[in-house]
Amino acid sequence: MTGNVRAEVERAVADAHRREWAFVLAATARVAGDFDVAEECVQDAYIAALDAWVRDGVPHKPGAWLTATAKRKALDILRRDKVFRSKMPLLMEPDETEMDAAAMDKDDDAVPDDRLRLIFTCCHPALAQEAQVALTLRLVCGVSTGDIARAFLVAEPTMAARLTRAKKKISAARIPYRVPGASELPERLDAVLTVIHLLYTTGHTAPTGADLLRADLVDRALHLTRMLHALMPDEPEVRGLLALLLLTDARRATRTDADGRLLVLEQQDRSRWDRAAIDEGQHLVVGAFRTGRVGRYALQAAIASLHAVAVSYAATDWRQVVGLYDRLLTVWPSPVVALNRAVAVSMVHGPEPALAEIDALEQDGRLADYQYLPAVRADLLRRLGRHREAAAAYRAALDLATNEAERRFLESRLGEVVDSDSGRSSEG
């Protein structure tokens, strides 16, 4: 009986960790004025919850209970330790501290939501992007330093040092704990979305190692975007990013075959795509376009949604895809976008004109180390039957590819073109 209660409480605490961590930490950080103190107090509150909830039952609002407990611990530390008091004004906006102390014991509905401040502070442009990513995972998602280190393939002490350095800069340079004003918002929001998108893509195609997908990072990114969408429901680019992640993630189950081999879009079993995610994504795309302020995430999501609704690769509305890539290039003139556009061009006008665009991109030089450039070239040459040149391009792509699943895909394609080449010509 007691064992059951304990197990139930452990589940409730784990659940609250996943759902409420950001909320609890964000509110505690405002009282503590320092992320290190806040982190410690929040950890302690979760540990305290284990016993308290067994004794008193799981509270009606676990997040409010945890927040009140963590804040109380923070205030105790501040009272006890004058060194911490000197840190206090670093993050806090003085006019809010008293109000906050008064609001401390009320329902969480009465407490203003600090999660946005937390996200914007973690993704502050004065911090290096890798630090922004690490801080977001640690402070907003509550992922342990060890897990973050494993996700980014660095040693745990390296990741710990990165986090410490970033937190130290926040406090020493007085990076403010607030949501940026309207004039800065678009740029700062873009930085936040970039961090989340980076998390997603790191999880989606793990840069090295055997697993194509590091599901945990993908889920964290989706969770973060949903949180951001709930906090800023009117921002078209937040909708756009959520749509893009949902529409991309809808294909998760079909991206590899039973042996873990990569399946490209053309080979995927479309009947197994997640229809609910596609519907939600499409709904969000429409909403984002309706605002008339269409940014790069909404445009990418719109492209993903054209793929999602097509019955087959060949039957995709490629003309409209090319049109969307044209618009995307105007808001985001990136060579990667131009490369993806070239693929779409090949489906409308054939591989030959697309190849000319690849040539231009190679001349441009910015994608010199980008494996997908030779990979796309290889595929176009293969479709044109120029197998020997295709083989050279596949080899160039293999020299750059680090993900095991992608390497195996490229190797098998290389095998195909080498076979057909030697079948047709005796020169070898």
Binding site: K82, V83, S86, H124, A126, A172, A173, R174, I175, P176, P180, E184
Partner: protein, 113 residues
């Protein structure tokens, strides 16, 4: 309020005597912009050109700035601002950012004993 050192970097040798009239005009306007954004310049200095600098590393004395680079420190000022966002807004408006750049660095405050 916090205090920041704003280090001004300009193309070497950063001779204050060769500052152009329109640059001077921008510099004249700067203090008012600083105040308007909620900051205050506590003190500031311009330096003689980097050709007048002498560097010492260990016991080796050499002619020139400590780090050889395209841009050199041309001067610095101490800025008081409520937080980094305001400090950066102010620093962005400094005319040095046009052909050189600035570095914003918080002053060290020893912890209370």
């Amino acid at each position: 309020m916090a205090q920041y050192a704003v280090l001004i970097y300009s193309p070497a040798p950063a001779d204050p005597m060769s500052i152009t009239p329109d640059y001077l005009e921008l510099l004249d306007r700067y203090p008012a912009q600083v105040t308007e954004l909620g900051g205050e310049i506590v003190t500031g200095f311009a330096l003689q050109p980097s050709t007048t600098a002498t560097a010492i590393r260990g016991d080796v004395v050499t002619d020139g700035p400590f780090i050889e680079a395209k841009e050199v420190v041309a001067g610095f000022f101490i800025l008081e601002a409520p937080d980094l966002d305001v400090a950066l807004q102010i620093a962005k408006l400094n005319p040095a950012t046009r052909d050189g750049g600035v570095e914003v660095r918080p002053l060290f405050v020893p912890p209370d004993a």
